[in-house]
Symmetry: D3
Subunit: 323 residues, 6 copies
């Protein structure tokens, strides 16, 4: 048994945020599959940025999100549940990515998520660029069958290729649908805006029955209404949630590589994440495209809201009572 | 007489923002109690961060807020009043805090606020961590009797202790109520969210009759409705306003030590501060938990909105016409 | 012919954001008037900050906005039009400003904008402090006659002088109206807040028939309603749009010299810019007061939203079909 | 057994710098005393800044130094030894510090260092403000007898009190000598400069036989000559090395709270640390006063040189062959 | 009498660095000429950047240097003198500069320095861009006669004009020599490097008998030898020292507008400043071209070394015993 | 003809640093091979970071170096030559790199450098991670025959693989020697330090006759002596200079991905670059591993010294008189 519990040394008070082992939410940390026994949710890092088209830096995301995650613990003031009480959550460490070898890194991500799913747990994956959705969703789909997908993003990420490159942070959703791992008609996108992709991609989306909900609709109809439509589209059955941090307005998440002004507020996104986790049958989720943008001695608001998203997902899972 | 007027040297134009004595809002600066005669409001700094549980740095808050305060001067476009015209405001400098001696520093804060109140003026205190609310509110309550309290914050700050430490930035409100300086049934909290505190603290709050208004209600009902409820709860009689900058979403106030995503907008908070100062019988206020987060050559948005809060309080006081 | 097309070397994929010639939106770059033939819109930089009263740095704005502009290309998801497809847009480089010689720099700005207008194109000017509005609007008005003006800003910029200085970033609109280049009754301001200017300036504004729409109204009535009023005020006939980035809340645009908390969201402003460009008869526009505030290796959210504003203006122009 | 080996998952290549468990130098991580068996050196964090007189932030130092330590591994190019090969090194985590309770935190530091020494290992302590030298040296001295001390610093840290506070980052060396834990005549200071302390403190130093080597001497005589004198002064017998990062010029270590320009270069200090570890009989060492000053996505040069110092100490220990 | 003594409120310990009135070195602050009576040295700010050719921001220099100056107090470890004990030093505030009006600002600088000199004190001026040397040296020369000048800088600043502008940060020394305020044959430059100015300027320098000592000579001969030559050149009689912070390598002073790699170290420059102040007959000095480059919560190494330079000048003046 | 001359619009003064087309050193900019006719030196960007093992961001290097290059122009104060006068230098833009496709990007780099060499010009390549040395040196070697190589770096970059990846920023020099493009016995490394590579790599280096000069030797013998040895080793015949910015101490170049404390000073490296360019028969050079680390509104000291290195190389080439 190789699990380390960050609270052990600080009994009975619990670890201060800035001290001790920096696991997600100060959860027990392990790198051994044996320790996944009985675990409800395993946090996994996917530190990768080899497949981006703009600013790099998401390889540094998982570490930053873990550091930012310390403040999130206790009973959720609105939901009335403490997810760390309701669920057994561990930090399972990072996938064994290989610098400058994205194929090997994708394989490592698929392997570690597969281990989590094989152990009967839900994987919450900290990215990493959005290309990681391909291996992490595939690892889930190969074990649960084709998945429903709820996808928050400024962009659809359904390109066939980007700059002629097929495995990219702009293409995972196209590939997953075409591979049969995501069911098009159970796939909903929320927060789309800006100037990408183009007609060809949207035509393909229509063919596959994908529900594309633009940011304009969030602004006009409100998040509750739009989220209800997205949750309806995904419906019952195993589902995955993929949250690209750039769905937020850059004011709320400046640390990302393809920021698009005019996006969601943190309050809306955090609420939506809790709701979807409470209502869908999530088998996994990822939070991607976080680039640390602040000194360690300062609040990194992007990493902080990313950690908050994970915690709202956990809270929703705790409410869900399927576990 | 030791008052220095920063505008003197620049007559008739007034001092540029970046030049000359950096008093709050370019107000006359004095450290002598004698100069408080006839003053309506005295700005006081409480540069302290000895009692925080997370990121330090609020000891640097008062200086940063003063620097950021320069742009705020003139007739308020909505309120139609120039608070520096309607009220005699001075900058009374910082409490004589002692590095690494929080007890002595609290005593100094209580002393300086007491001097202001004794002189018949309202103290607006620039924090500092939220522990300063204990001495600054006590100084007011000892002279005005038990106070009503309106408290904007992501957290209730009503812990009995934090990490076993009783004097802390997480406990001032518990202590003030228990000490009889704040009347529980005249105490309203606005903006609560996240995962702290827990059942025990909320049970105590209910016992004491405290009104706890969550951020969720601000989002659902709007700030006007929630503020009205809070102002009703506080009601007539001497009152204090305590504004923890982390009530704002980190997008609006990244420079703070326990940021909690999903919070208020600056527009809502600024408006609320003016309203409450206009409607309540404020005897003092503090703005706390500001950590400078930007170079001097850049807009520090946290310090800037904190300065704006102070100015809206002043504007509300000017509207209040009780002075 | 001296135009350079940044896409040429990367055919057929187009230039990556971070590589190659950093023209606005990767548009063809030229400094020759001859190349303006047949051009619909020319982007022009006005790198100036000699006339500010607070933080300097806007001389670095045009370069930063160009760098941030790379992500904006393709069909607008809401508008269904690709402005670079619908319009012939070039980057015409920067005005030949002279360091520490604001008069010469203003002359250079007036000259370059005049060249654009003489070529029959619309000038979109990247500031620069707001003083540049005087030469750039004058250059348009001298060729199109007195203009309507829609002006987004926290401040009216209608001072007679600032610190006794008449040519300033706080006075351009007063001067343009008094010079007859802007028609007061066709001039609408949106987003005003804070404590400047005072009664004298507002009295003059009333005399000239200027429509002043405060931020309070945007918060209370919504942007759609307020924008409709502003567009009505400007009405038909040649018009100019002047967007001071400080109309945004500092959370959305921290990189500016006279930030005023409590402002607009990016989503509202971006939408408004597209609408006004689609509905008015714009002969030019400027986006001003942007100070780069982030490292090159990070998203500069201020420059990014400024680039987005330009792109929404272009999208609106493309919808406008007057070109 | 609760040790986690960060290299396990990445076999045979070893962990990339930015991924996986962020233990110091990717060493096995444990919080159990049982795992110290057979260990030569244990890295220990002392995340504390409650006792500073200037800028806070050193509570964030240990985490930052660990993150920066990743690049240091392999055979030292000059020394020809791989310290991780020659010595069994573990990361023993952080002392169980308590926020806002410096007495409890000092006790925790003394306890954890005591555990290391009891296990027969050398403790390398990552600060934290310099007050931690008191508990960490005391823990060693209580087990090894009065120690020799080599102390790199801009300041002597031999005040009797600072602002009337006796336990402070300005007083540890006075207290340790007076407590009998450091032998005055075996105590050498290197790098002193600036304006502190005063005559009283230097008179006391002379009485105690302390060797005070100013920065001026390093500049005039060279580091080799000055270091030889310091090593001579310490001589044989158990010794401790205390490295205040502010002995470096702020150009080399900007992230510190009481920076003093005109200091040492990294090259000199790194070399000196290796030499002293190779020549003295070190029973422990600390590296203190590091405040993270750069974003996670950037080289934090202060934390990086601090990590380098630790690695040179390890290299010197490996050369020392006493282990 | 309007002097405020920042130590008064903190008796007997003195003010902490981060608290209270931020005068230079916590010296008594006054804006009244009457308070200059009996003063040996008055610190004066010249917050100006209207006349730069590159990055702006030096208008923010004086405030940043004052903030950084707090750590400098006590007996100089090498010189054995406490300048604040030996000399009566006050902070006389900033010149009444006018935003966007460099001529008025220069007049204000000349006036305030003149007031200091008229009171029989030495003026130490905190810049501001190097153009301020023209009014501050002229104010001294008009009262003391033509001055010797020792000038540390990467550039000679002896252009006739820059971009056709005669009053500029690149021209003050040419103008002062031509105006007869600086005696060419008593004028020595130290630290020149890079690619400016050209043959014409150097020819003029030779004509005027100016001693130009390149950085190459500092590197080859050492600072002591080069400084001796410079001091010899200036010789007896009233003299001024002008220190452009860019004489330092950008590693030691990144916060400046025309940084030139390959420059001096802080240790050399600090030593030189003390020496020259001790040996020459200084009637004034300025430290210029400092742009704040770090958050308030961090060490600003440029402002810090600038404050150190002022303090070494004061220490040298104290040694000089002419006062 | 598609060359654009940035000075054209500003005649006769020349372009200010912050305005106009941001070509290297404000040189004429072209992307057409035809314009290379008669050119002595072409600046080429290689914006790539796909092959790093640590911090990414060097894809942003060329743009940052160009921005920083503006200050370098005129007659070199020590060398007495203006390289832009002596040599015809153009900025040939960036290689047509493809995001996330390092093989294609390497091919593009090889192609653009080949074009420069084919035109009879010297290529100065702005990196980019150090992997770019493989294609850029190969492009030169294929046209000039096996090259001598002078290589400044903290690391040898002669790994056979890194993490199992053969094309990497840690392997180019191994590959170039093995491919026969660099002659081992004419290859000198300067500045090595730290803990990488290991015995195997150094054994291979010895076999190939490579001269490895450690940083220790620069510190002990001085740069002049060490450089002379390196230049001797390279000797006559076509040669290439590869400058990894991490040869500098992180104080002088914090913006790099594998910083190693204890390195060279800027003054030494700048001098060495000029000397080697003056004495060797350079056919090309690259400056690599620069990550922008400062806001656009601030001096980026890493990019600035990188630009200075290029300019010293140009100055040395101008002195060389082989062109």
């Amino acid at each position: 048994m190789t699990t380390i519990d960050p609270h052990e040394r600080w009994k009975p008070h619990g670890r201060p945020d800035y001290a001790g082992l920096q696991s997600f939410g100060a959860r027990p940390y392990t790198e051994s599959v044996d320790d996944l026994d009985g675990v409800d949710v395993a946090i996994v890092g996917a530190p990768l940025d080899d497949l981006v088209s703009d600013l790099p830096g998401t390889r540094l995301g998982p570490r930053a999100i873990r550091i930012a995650s310390n403040g999130f613990a206790g009973v959720h003031l609105d939901a009335g549940v403490d997810p760390f009480d309701a669920l057994r959550v561990v930090d399972f460490g990072d996938a064994a990515v290989i610098p400058a070898d994205p194929a090997a890194s994708h394989a490592a991500i698929e392997r570690i998520v597969g281990d989590v799913v094989d152990a009967g747990a839900i994987a919450l994956v900290l990215g990493g660029d959005h290309s990681i959705a391909e291996p992490d969703i595939r690892a889930c789909a190969e074990r649960h069958g084709p998945l429903g997908l709820i996808h928050f993003d400024a962009h659809t990420d359904t390109g066939r290729e980007l700059w002629g490159v097929e495995r990219s942070h702009g293409t995972p959703m196209y590939r997953l649908v075409e591979q049969g791992h995501v069911a098009g008609e159970r796939y909903a996108q929320v927060g789309l805006r800006g100037y990408w992709p183009g007609e060809e991609e949207f035509a393909w989306q229509d063919e596959r029955g994908i529900t594309a909900l633009r940011m304009r609709e969030v602004l006009d109809r409100g998040i509750a209404d739009v989220l209800a439509e997205a949750i309806d589209a995904v419906g019952p059955g195993p589902a995955f949630a993929s949250i690209d941090i750039d769905v937020l307005d850059p004011a709320f998440a400046p640390g990302t590589g393809t920021a698009e002004p005019g996006g969601m507020t943190s309050a809306d996104l955090l609420w939506a994440c809790r709701q979807l986790a409470a209502q869908l049958e999530l088998v996994g989720a990822d939070v991607v495209e976080v680039i640390p943008s602040a000194p360690l001695a300062t609040t990194d608001i992007t990493a902080s809201v990313a950690a908050g998203i994970v915690h709202e997902l956990l809270t929703g899972l705790a409410l869900n009572r399927r576990y």
